[in-house]
């Protein structure tokens, strides 16, 4: 293949690139590669270490945590996890959190998809200002909106329900979803739309059967970010719930009692909050690795 005489400009370029790449590979000594790996490795250690420590403490009893300092559990115990899984107050926290996160993802993505399509395909009165206004909602400080939120949801009778938290999280998740999706949609050529309309597709049918499959990975990435920001939020979800829809993050504050902090349970509960995130990243890893360039281009 490489010995044949190149005939087109592309193949000339291809061959030149291959030759250059081979030369570079030889000259780029193994030390460079090892340096890269070491640097990345160091960063990964920095990322893992605090999480490892949480894991370590979660398998120890409180007396061991406070009594002796060890790099791994000496008396391995799963009592901390057992406590969480047997007490409905505890495990319902995870169910509640997951419930409102999923609701929020569903609501956000279903209203953000048409809106993002409008922003990516049309000009209309106030479009730029609307877009910036959406972004300002990402910066709204939740701290002082707390009280109005509490009263708003109380007055419409949604206080302490999952849907209340899901709706409240729409405040920052819908703008974020539109922002991300708009970038993906703008990279789909407009000829696709036009061809479909000429072929007699109605807008809803075109949108669902042709357009959405084309931005599949965009939707995956968006869902990942929606999950992330709804799952990690504390202030709003804590304020809008009492007992029926209390998120795990606010249940965890129960570990500090008058007799001191229950470190083991705190650590175990912390470990369990990480797991849903890992599952979500696992599903979208290929979409992220495929590459996306966010933003209006």
């Amino acid at each position: 293949m490489t010995s044949s005489v190149p005939t087109t400009p592309e193949s000339v370029r291809q061959q030149a690139a291959e030759v250059a790449a081979r030369r570079r590979k030889r000259t780029r000594s193994t030390t460079t590669r090892w340096r890269r790996r070491t640097l990345l490795g160091l960063y990964l250690v920095f990322v893992i270490l605090p999480i490892y420590w949480l894991l370590n403490l979660s398998f120890q009893t409180n007396s061991e945590i406070l009594g002796s300092f060890s790099f791994w559990p000496q008396n391995f115990t799963i009592a901390n996890y057992a406590r969480i899984f047997t007490d409905s107050n505890w495990y319902m926290g995870y169910v509640n959190s997951l419930a409102y996160v999923l609701m929020n993802m569903l609501i956000s993505i279903s209203v953000a998809l048409p809106a993002a399509y409008a922003f990516s395909r049309f000009r209309f009165i106030g479009d730029k200002h609307l877009f910036f206004w959406l972004l300002t909602n990402l910066m709204a400080p939740p701290a002082v909106f707390l009280l109005p939120y509490f009263q708003l949801y109380y007055s419409v009778g949604l206080f302490d329900t999952h849907i209340a938290v899901a709706l409240a999280h729409c405040l920052f998740n819908i703008p974020l979803a539109i922002w991300i999706l708009e970038g993906f949609m703008s990279s789909v050529p407009k000829e696709v739309d036009e061809t479909a309309y000429i072929d007699g597709y109605s807008f809803p049918r075109f949108f669902v059967t042709i357009f959405l499959p084309m931005i599949r990975s965009g939707i995956g990435v968006t869902l990942f970010f929606l999950f992330m920001f709804s799952w990690v939020e504390l202030l709003l979800s804590r304020t809008l719930t009492a007992t029926n829809a209390q998120p795990i993050a606010s249940i965890m504050t129960r570990t500090s009692t008058a007799s001191g902090i229950d470190w083991g349970t705190l650590a175990a509960a912390g470990v369990l909050t990480i797991i849903p995130g890992v599952v979500v990243v696992y599903f979208v890893r290929n979409h992220i690795a495929k590459g996306f360039a966010l933003g209006r281009t």
């Binding site: 009165i125 106030g126 730029k128 910036f132 109005p148 009263q151 708003l152 109380y154 007055s155």
Partner: protein, 90 residues
């Protein structure tokens, strides 16, 4: 609505903003705005100039209220004047 603790001045304020937005929409429908370059360093449309005007009006009010003893009506007057200048020549 009771929990929103409305007062007359804030009600007037928000009605004013709403009226301006409606008016701008009507104006835009009647004669679409063209992006142009005035004394501001960037090219702006009518809506951009309105936004800049309102944002700077907020800062003018804050400065007057926070750091001087001048009446707030003076700040309001200055802001309206500045907004008009901005809309015409900005």
């Amino acid at each position: 609505m009771e929990w929103m603790v409305w007062t007359l001045p804030t009600a007037i304020f928000f009605s004013g903003i709403a009226a301006i937005l409606l008016g701008m929409t009507a104006w835009e429908l009647a004669s679409p705005s063209v992006e142009r370059r005035g004394f501001l360093p960037i090219a702006t449309t009518r809506g951009d100039r309105l936004f800049i005007g309102l944002l700077s009006a907020a800062y003018i009010h804050l400065a007057v209220v926070g750091f001087t003893d001048i009446s707030i009506w003076f700040a309001l007057g200055t802001s309206v004047l500045w907004l008009l200048v901005l809309m015409r020549w900005g």
